[in-house]
């Protein structure tokens, strides 16, 4: 049994997976888990926002829930995009998506920190 699965060569149908290591599928699932983590954090932040009508304290929680939904939908598009890019020998790297998620998470952490400092 070899360690690294070689990329199969020869004509391939677009629906066929890219490699036997299922790298793209594992990455897709990793995005989905990240989306679910956003949803969990969003629920917690909303729970801690006070629950007394609309307030600015709900912003981090709402942001996290919107991010969760967006990420889980975007994950499938990213999966398909990666599939086609690799098939066409184009770069699989997605710096803008990565930067967006990093900035969003930092913003959320900052929002959560402010909520905690002001929590009574």
């Amino acid at each position: 049994v070899s360690g690294a699965a070689p990329v199969p060569d020869g004509p391939l149908d677009n629906e066929e997976v890219l490699d036997r290591g299922l790298q793209n599928e594992r990455t897709y699932l990793s995005w989905q888990r990240t989306g679910l983590s956003y949803a969990a954090v969003g629920a917690l932040l909303l729970h801690g926002s006070g629950g007394r009508g609309l307030s600015v304290r709900m912003v981090p929680g709402m942001l996290a829930l919107v991010a969760a939904a967006t990420l889980m939908l975007r994950a499938y598009l990213h999966y398909r995009g990666t599939h086609h890019r690799v098939r066409q020998d184009l770069p699989a790297v997605a710096p803008r998506l990565i930067a967006g998620v990093a900035a969003l998470t930092a913003g959320l952490a900052l929002g959560g920190l402010v909520l905690q400092v002001t929590w009574r």
């Binding site: 990329v7 990793s30 917690l44 997605a94 990093a102 998470t105």
Partner: protein
Amino acid sequence: MQPEPAQGQPGGPAARRRPPLREVGEEPDYRFTLANERTFLAWIRTALALLAAGVAVVQLIPQFGIPYGRHVLGVALSVLSLIVALTSYARWEHSERAMRLNQPLPHSRLPQLLGWGLAVISIVAMALVLISAGQAGG
């Protein structure tokens, strides 16, 4: 026609700015790119888990006998979360750049910092619980 991005002009802004990722070196095996992406996502989930833990400590667990005890733990966890989130893109970018240039992957001190940070937070949490229990008993 746009001028080519200046590289190697000391002192200018272009000298400080590194060339875009896609223009550096050569395209690595896509499996390495995806592995790097998954590692980035694992760090993001770690940041989210730290944030969730911080929020839960402040809002869900009972008050310690010591004033602001919960806040100290919650804020420490959230600051760790913020550090992990703020450094996540740079870590991913440095690894991707190294892969494209066929260089060794850069070493990160964050795992060490995170390990020590969580150990200290755990010890402080244990101390707070023991002190609170002692106050309740005595």
